[in-house]
Symmetry: D2
Subunit: 339 residues, 4 copies
């Protein structure tokens, strides 16, 4: 094992200030594990944090970005019980959220918690879980945020079941995980997108219906028509703004709207009436806890579910990967960290 | 028993068009019960329906207003199994919603379903439950809408328990039921009002804390302070508009916002961030089902809980009762129908 | 339409007293539908009722047996709103259980409620739902009891999800629906049987693992081994007696045991310790409500799930069908009623 | 602070082998807190562990018994974030169960985890919570096992609410907490006991009804009569054996039986029929998690609920305290550890 490693460092806001540094490989303290990182999946939140620190908690440079990695444990500190060297792991997005409601004091990795865009990272032993057995590291690295967000919304909180209808907006990582998880539970999906080619690809992935936004600006009516007037059971809100009003109108009585997205307008606006007359539940989804991530890993392994990675980049190609992220990938963009 | 009865009739929108008619007492058909009405509790929705039909479903005159009554079964139709003559009953707000999610085809009483402002009314046998034993008819008539709304939000859906904190807005019927139900479950209440005298009366009723809106326009900070920074477990949103943003900021991680009100702005508007970071549940509460009303009656009887009726009016005094409703009563306003 | 019909009649206990009678076709009263029956699925409960009335509530002859049918509405009574003539329907096992907890006064069809082994039956309009679109009538007739029981245990109450493990006992109707529903939700199944050939057929149907009881009398250890020591998430108890102790030992922490069966010993017996240390939930499943049956129909239609009917018999062949039932069919046995 | 402390030590099974040792006060390692113990509440499990190690997990001497203490943090190890010296705390029964389902690797205090019958104890910082503000240390020490068990059964898992009926068996610590928590949530209680004097004392504490077992050996009929035939919503099973059959017959449709007890027969035995016809839930309750204990502390503080401590003993009087425990106290027995 070398003594130094490469690490991406953001000294001040702006992607032009990202620097590839060479620093000493750290050593694990009590309760910590040292992980050799092999793949890091990027989230839109990482871009926002790099641009201006607005990807959730307000954060300030300097920091190393990114929360979602796959890698191998190479050393463990005193008292570590959950892992031994040699195990493949993925990180938890939230450091310290194990189960139940989110506890105070929990840190998001990739600022303010430690960032994963490094060849080696230190984690508290509680901040990682065993990687799925049958995925590549690039694929596995997409579970901690995008995969778990879709799982929390649909399965852990939403109790999705066969015969239900799920509406998904866009074709980013969360939406495509939503398509795959819904299909795996015997549910129908209706996918909205502004891009006919992406709709086509999503159908190949298992989406039941695709709606082109330009053809169906008031898409909620189409959802009603496709469900014999009943409405959808679940909508993942990935747009925001006034779109939420349409989402509520697309829901059945007692349906569930999971609010996730930052893509459109961060201000939600809707009339109270569809909510009162439809008795819907709206729930904010801020990723999820470790127990649910372990459930997801178990599901991914049993289902042989393969996450959609549109492109993998080398470790030095982070700028290109971020540019891809800004263009709106179909699924996920991953930075490889293996030498 | 007489052959004719009095009934309030709205021929066209506007309270000036309310007429007290004398009509024949109807006879119950198969599956119906004939109820001699003794008390009718008014809701703000009744005023909106009378003014312009906007109290929920868009309704059109002619109709008899009001949904919530207490009375006595005086005759039953063929095949009726749930009731016999002589039983004291209260109506269900929704005709036909028995349990589970709200089913299509269910009617709200008081338009489009039959209105209760009559000396005798016909109901499907499924549209009534036994009245609580220890309440006057005026008190009992407040349960079907105001009482059940608070119960659905806090107990049936909210699983309220001892040690939790509930925020209530205003001192109308739902808010005061919220105070009483929270106290009965060992929970703390924080009541917001624009009227110091009403806060005083609410404290006598069991409210733990009162906040005067003029002193605490950004009342969410006060809620945080009163809960050692943790936030409230439940907020009943009875105002709407931008207030919802404050309500979300007042909630603890994973807290529950029950959206009920029509009092302020019917347009909800909020940033997505408190929702994402707080993982709150927002749920629209459109009154509730019969099984929950039966649970509430059982609770009211065991607790000897006495609903707050600020004033009772004679049957002919409906206009005065509506004027009282418009001024914003402390609790409920009831029209007596007994001769 | 003819004026007379055939109907199976049990004048006293014992299958030798089953008589095929010719009686007048009834006419629907208010709120009723007349259904021309085309297929009736038999349950083990029907056999018990015929033998000695012990298939649930203690019942007494005379009665017409069987609860589960598919057919076509041919006439409707006054006030019927849910159906029109010409619609394909299936019965609900419980007449009047619409949603939520089971209400008092609800009748099981096939005694004490009306029996379905007739060419025409009268049902309250609330006691039927639209049949799935893509199934034969024989297949559709298996949903009201066997299909719904598995659905209630696993989906409605159990919130089954992908990656979980379900243990099923035997290869009767409920167990095979369990295999199919688990597969449809991305879950693993472990099936126990005393018959190697049936295990083979179940694997073809989607069962992940099969355990031969004679090879694994203490099968709970095998379940632990197959789940890396974790235990199963769901067990459907279809045997009873001391088997329940093994079922509890096979469950993971907080796992769920759905008690369904009458096949073995009707006396449950177990040490308290696995229950205390495993914090399991044991739930009695007595079929289910209409809303869940509608959810199941929607799932069956979307999944193109085909229930397992091992054999269909003609209407006059009821004795042969019952004999098949006693031998323990693989899946369901159906009596056809179409002329 | 002294350098030595007293500690009870069990070298081999049998209470006659309990020894009061003088040992060095330990020092907290990383992540640990050192607590000066002031009060230790005894549980029946402690007696079983002392007698023969059968109080749950099979344990072997040597060990220090007891799991439930109140005390004061006097020193903290490196990296401790949850506590500072000077804070009053109580232990969690399970070391490491924070929320959600019970995780593998979690230790019960008092064997196999560290025992609390010592003047000073070391705990992982995660194994304690802030003590309620208004209780004495003796009272506070009763919450970790007896209080939390009743809370998990009735509130966290049972969603107890006003107007419900709770059946409790005996007058030990869990049963009396059940009486107090039910009363605090507006629920009715029916208490069974073999001792008329204890029933009288329980009524003074808030129990609604008391049934003397000798007068009502088939007490389930009395429960039905007291609930107008409906049955109880919750039963806490503290007896075991064949009593479970009566408990199931006492429950309403869909009611909940929480299995807790070790007092009678550890073999549960019941017919399957009440379970199938009543669709009950039976759940094993093995104390509970830290988040629920924090909820309970908050409730106790708001309600000013005072646990029932029948007698306090000095630290050297452990044998007398155990003898009291064997006689069956009314509520809890506590050993004081303050000098």
């Amino acid at each position: 094992m070398d003594h130094t490693m490469r690490r991406w460092h953001l000294g001040q806001f702006g992607k032009q200030h990202l620097q590839l540094q060479t620093v000493a490989i750290p050593r694990p303290g009590p309760g910590q594990i040292l992980v050799r990182v092999t793949a890091v999946a990027l989230n839109y939140r990482d871009k926002m944090n790099i641009d201006n620190g607005t990807g959730g908690a307000q954060v300030q440079p300097p920091f190393t970005p990114a929360s979602d990695m796959a890698g191998e444990v190479v050393a463990v500190g005193d008292g570590v019980q959950r892992f031994i060297a040699g195990q493949r792991v993925i990180s938890t997005f939230w450091g310290g959220w194990l189960d139940g409601p989110w506890p105070q004091g929990t840190l998001a990795l990739g600022a303010p918690g430690p960032g994963m865009l490094a060849e080696y990272v230190l984690l508290q032993e509680d901040w990682a879980v065993a990687a799925p057995l049958h995925l590549t590291d690039a694929q596995a690295s997409t579970l901690p945020c995008a995969g778990l967000t879709a799982w929390m919304a649909l399965v852990e909180q939403g109790h999705l079941h066969a015969g239900q209808t799920v509406v998904l907006q866009g074709t980013g990582g969360v939406a495509l995980f939503g398509v795959q998880l819904a299909a795996a539970h015997g549910a129908r999906t209706i996918l909205l997108s502004g891009d006919a080619g992406k709709l086509e690809r999503a159908r190949a992935l298992g989406a039941t219906h695709g709606l082109l936004r330009s053809q169906h600006p008031e898409w909620q009516h189409e959802v009603r028509a496709l469900t014999e007037g009943r409405g959808a059971d679940h909508v993942l809100e990935l747009v925001g703004g006034e779109n939420i009003g349409r989402s509520l109108q697309a829901l059945r009585q007692g349906g569930r709207l999971s609010v996730i997205g930052l893509l459109g307008d961060a201000q939600l606006q809707t009339s109270i009436f569809p909510l009162l007359l439809g008795r819907h539940t709206i729930q904010g989804i801020g990723v999820g806890h470790r127990r649910a991530l372990e459930d997801l890993v178990r599901a991914v392994d049993h289902l042989r579910l393969v996450p959609v990675v549109e492109q993998e980049y080398g470790f030095a190609q982070l700028p290109e990967a971020l540019a891809h992220l800004e263009r709106g990938p179909f699924g996920k963009v991953v930075v490889r960290a293996d030498r």
